[in-house]
C-alpha cells in the first residue's frame, strides 16, 4: 500500500498557486472591463488651426469621462504631431494602430494628409474621421470603393458644400442687399480648392455674380501685390476667396495696399481668434465662412464648448476644434450604440449618426450618395455661417438667425456695383 498523503507544505504551496491564479483571472477580468477606449489624434500642432484639434478632443474626453465614460470605459486621447507632413501622419497612424492600439483616429485639417491616410485606414481597418479637411475626393473615394474605404468619415464640410455655403451667404449679403454683380475668384493651388473653385464657378452665376477672372496662386506666395493689382484691373465688386495655407499675408497686403474691393469666402486662418493680432487688425472688413464661432449659438452646445475651451486653453478654438470636439462625442456615441469597439460595427453605428454637435446636426451621407460619409449640408443640419472681422472682433453676419450685426467695412473699401 502506497502512501498518497502529501506533506502539509505541498498543500499550502498548491493553495497559494491556486489562489494566485484565481486572483489573476479576476484582476484581468476587471482590467478588461475597465480597458480605456483609445482615440488617436493626429494633428498639425504648430499651426493655429491644427493646435485646437487635440485640445478640443481632450476636452470632450474629459467631459465624457467625468460622466462615467462609455459604459464604464474611460476615453483616452493619444496625440501625435504630424508637422503638417503626410509622411509623418502615415507613420503616426501606423504607430497609433499597431503599437498604441487605438480604436479610432481623428486626423488633420489638411486634405492632402487625410487623402494619404485613407489607404491606411482601409488596410489597418481603423475608423478615421477628419475634423477639417475639405477635399471632395475624401467622400468620393469612399463612394467609389465603399468596401475598402468605408472606414473613413468626413467630419467637416466638403469643398462643394463650402462653395454652396459661401454662395448662399453672398446672395443674401452682397447680391440682394448691396446689389453686387461681378466677382473675381482668388484661390490657392491645393487639393481642397480644385472642387471649391468648380463649386464657385457653378454657383456664382446662379446667384447673380458674374465671374470676371479666376486667379489661382501658389500656396507659398508671399508678395500678393501683382495679384491684387491684376484683380483691381478687372474691376469686380467682390473678391471670392479660397485660402487656408495663406491668410495673414494676403490680408495684410490687401489693407496696406488699400485694395478697394471687399473679400468674402473661405479664409480658414481668419476663423482663428488670433488672426486679428497676427494681422495687426488688418483683417477688419474680411468676410469669412465658418462652421461655428465664439458667441454664436449654432446649437445650444456651441457657446458652452467655446467658453470651456477658452477657460482651459486661454483662447477660442479654431474651426477644426469645434468639429474635433463633436467627433469624440459622436464616435463615443457610436461605440455605445454598437456595444463594441470592433471597427466594422463602429462603421455601421457611425453611419447611423444623428448627433447635435457644436456646428449643427451631424448626419452622414449614405453608401448610395455621391459624397458617401460626408457631412450632410442644409437647413436643419449644417449650414455654416458667415462672420466678419469688425474692430478686432469676429462678428457673425449671416444667416439671420445667428447674425449679431450688419456688414461694416474699413474706409478704403468701396462697396459698389460696377
Amino acid at each position: 500500500m502506497t502512501n498518497t498523503s502529501r506533506p502539509p507544505v505541498f498543500w499550502s504551496v498548491r493553495r497559494l498557486l491556486g489562489a494566485s491564479a484565481i486572483g489573476l483571472l479576476l484582476t484581468s477580468g476587471q482590467a478588461l472591463a475597465a480597458d480605456p477606449i483609445k482615440f488617436g489624434v493626429i494633428a498639425e500642432a504648430q499651426a493655429i488651426a491644427g493646435a485646437s484639434i487635440p485640445q478640443a478632443a481632450q476636452l470632450a474626453a474629459d467631459e465624457i469621462n467625468a460622466k462615467g465614460g462609455v459604459d464604464g470605459r474611460m476615453i483616452e486621447i493619444v496625440t501625435y504631431d504630424n508637422h503638417s507632413s503626410s509622411a509623418d501622419s502615415v507613420r503616426a497612424f501606423q504607430r497609433a494602430v499597431n503599437e498604441d492600439k487605438v480604436h479610432a483616429v481623428i486626423a488633420s485639417y489638411v486634405s492632402e494628409v487625410v487623402l494619404a491616410l485613407m489607404p491606411w485606414a482601409a488596410r489597418l481597418k481603423t475608423p478615421l474621421v477628419t475634423p477639417g479637411a475639405a477635399s471632395n475626393e475624401i467622400p468620393l473615394s469612399v463612394h467609389k470603393d465603399y468596401e475598402k474605404n468605408k472606414y473613413t468619415f468626413h467630419g467637416y464640410l466638403t469643398s462643394a458644400a463650402l462653395a454652396l455655403s459661401v454662395c448662399d451667404a453672398a446672395k443674401d449679403l452682397l447680391v440682394d442687399e448691396k446689389h453686387m454683380k461681378t466677382a473675381v475668384i482668388m484661390s490657392e493651388d491645393a487639393a481642397w480648392t480644385k472642387p471649391l473653385d468648380i463649386g464657385y464657378e457653378a454657383c456664382l452665376p446662379k446667384i447673380g455674380l458674374k465671374e470676371l477672372d479666376h486667379i489661382r496662386f501658389s500656396p507659398d506666395t508671399t508678395d500678393f501685390t501683382p495679384i491684387f493689382n491684376k484683380i483691381e484691373g478687372s474691376k469686380p465688386d467682390v473678391i471670392i476667396t479660397g485660402i487656408s495655407h495663406v491668410g495673414v499675408q494676403p490680408t495684410v497686403q490687401w489693407k496696406n495696399q488699400q485694395v478697394p474691393i471687399p473679400m468674402l469666402g473661405i479664409s480658414s486662418q481668419a476663423t482663428n481668434e488670433t488672426f486679428g493680432k497676427d494681422t495687426n487688425n488688418a483683417a477688419d472688413g474680411v468676410l469669412f465662412q465658418a462652421v461655428a464661432g465664439p458667441g454664436v449659438a449654432m446649437t445650444p452646445k456651441s457657446v458652452p464648448f467655446a467658453e470651456a475651451f477658452k477657460k482651459k486653453y486661454g483662447n477660442y478654438p479654431s474651426y477644426a476644434g469645434y468639429t474635433a470636439y463633436d467627433e469624440v462625442y459622436y464616435i463615443a456615441d457610436a461605440i455605445k450604440r454598437a456595444g463594441s469597439t470592433d471597427a466594422d460595427k463602429m462603421v455601421d453605428a457611425l453611419e447611423k449618426t444623428d448627433w447635435e454637435g457644436t456646428i449643427g446636426r451631424v448626419q452622414f451621407y449614405g453608401k448610395d450618395d455621391e459624397f458617401t460619409h460626408g457631412l450632410k449640408y442644409g437647413k436643419g443640419l449644417i449650414t455654416g455661417l458667415l462672420a466678419q472681422w469688425q474692430d478686432g472682433q469676429q462678428v457673425a453676419v449671416w444667416p439671420k438667425e445667428v447674425a449679431k450685426g450688419p456688414l461694416k467695412f474699413p474706409n478704403f473699401i468701396k462697396v459698389t456695383s460696377n
Binding site: D223, V248, V252, N256, Q257, D278
Partner: protein, 291 residues
C-alpha cells in the same frame, strides 16, 4: 500704367532682396562662411519685432529696434557657438571645415526655425508698418510702407558702402576679404575683424527681416526660401562680390515682378532660377565674381 507698376513694385522687392543678400555675401567674402542659417535669423528678427508689438505691447519703433537687436545677438551667437568652434577645431581636417560650417549653420537654422514654430506657431506674422497709408506715384497707388522699405534698404546699403570704404574698421574688413594672411602680418587680429563682420551682418539681416515682416510678412516656413533666395542672388552676382549681389538682387527682383504681372503669380520664381542655371553654364563665377 502697367510699366510704372512693375517699375515701382519691382524696385521695392529688389531693394529688400539686395539688403538681405548683402550681409550674406559680406560674410562669405571676408570669412569664407556660407551661412545657411541666414533665413532663420531674418525670420527671427521679424518675429521678435512682431512679438514686441503684439505680445509686449511696445511701440512700433522700439519693436523694430528689438527685432534688429535680436538678429545681432543671433548672428554673434551663430559665430561663437557654431562657426568659430568648427574653424578652431583640431579634430576636423582643414579641407573639411567648409562643409562642417555649411552643415552646422544649416542645422542651427533649422533649430531656430523649429523654436519659432514651437513658440509662435508656423502661421505668418506681420510687423506693424512704421508708416501707413498710400500715395499716388505716376498713377500707381503705392503703400507708403513700400516706399519706406525701399528707402531704408538704399540708405543702409549706402551706409555700409561708407563704412567699408571710408572708415579704418571698414578698410580692415576689406583687406581681410582680399588677403587674410596679409592682415594678420600687419598686426590686426583676424578674429576681431570676423566679430565686426558678423555684427554688421546681424544688423543688416535684422533690418532686412523686420522690413520684410512689415512689407510682406514672414512665418517659420519662410526660413528655407529666404536662405535659398539669398544664396541664389549671391551665386548669380558672384560669391563674395557685394556689388555683384546688388546687381543680381535687382535682376532677380524685376524678373520675378515681370513674371508675376505678365505671365502668372504662380510662376513667379521660375525664370530667375532658370537664369541662374544659364549663368552657371556660361559664367560659373557669377556676374561680377572672380575666378
Amino acid at each position: 500704367m502697367l510699366a510704372f507698376q512693375i517699375l515701382i513694385d519691382g524696385f521695392a522687392i529688389s531693394a529688400l532682396y539686395a539688403l538681405g543678400a548683402t550681409g550674406f555675401t559680406l560674410i562669405f567674402g571676408v570669412s569664407g562662411v556660407l551661412n545657411l542659417s541666414h533665413g532663420a535669423i531674418m525670420v527671427l528678427a521679424a518675429v521678435a519685432a512682431w512679438a514686441a508689438a503684439s505680445v509686449l505691447h511696445l511701440d512700433t519703433y522700439l519693436g523694430a529696434l528689438l527685432g534688429v537687436a535680436v538678429a545681432l545677438v543671433a548672428a554673434l551667437l551663430t559665430y561663437f557657438a557654431v562657426v568659430q568652434p568648427i574653424q578652431k577645431s583640431r579634430r576636423i581636417p582643414n579641407e573639411e571645415k567648409e562643409i562642417f560650417v555649411l552643415t552646422g549653420t544649416l542645422l542651427w537654422g533649422i533649430m531656430i526655425q523649429e523654436l519659432i514654430a514651437y513658440f509662435f506657431t508656423n502661421n505668418a506674422k506681420t510687423v506693424l508698418p512704421i508708416v501707413e497709408g498710400v500715395v499716388d506715384i505716376l498713377g500707381v497707388r503705392t503703400p507708403r510702407n513700400e516706399i519706406f522699405t525701399a528707402l531704408v534698404c538704399c540708405l543702409v546699403i549706402g551706409l555700409l558702402w561708407l563704412l567699408v570704404n571710408r572708415t579704418r574698421t571698414g578698410k580692415a574688413v576689406l583687406a581681410a576679404s582680399m588677403n587674410p594672411r596679409g592682415v594678420t602680418l600687419l598686426g590686426l587680429e583676424l578674429t576681431n575683424i570676423y566679430i565686426v563682420v558678423w555684427a554688421i551682418y546681424g544688423i543688416l539681416a535684422g533690418i532686412a527681416g523686420v522690413l520684410l515682416g512689415m512689407f510682406l510678412g514672414v512665418s517659420s516656413y519662410s526660413v528655407g526660401p529666404l536662405t535659398a533666395s539669398a544664396f541664389s542672388i549671391v551665386v548669380l552676382g558672384g560669391l563674395g562680390s557685394v556689388s555683384g549681389s546688388l546687381i543680381a538682387a535687382f535682376v532677380v527682383g524685376y524678373l520675378e515682378t515681370l513674371t508675376a504681372y505678365l505671365i502668372s503669380p504662380a510662376y513667379r520664381t521660375i525664370p530667375a532660377l532658370l537664369l541662374l542655371v544659364v549663368v552657371m553654364y556660361i559664367r560659373p563665377q557669377g556676374l561680377l565674381g572672380r575666378r
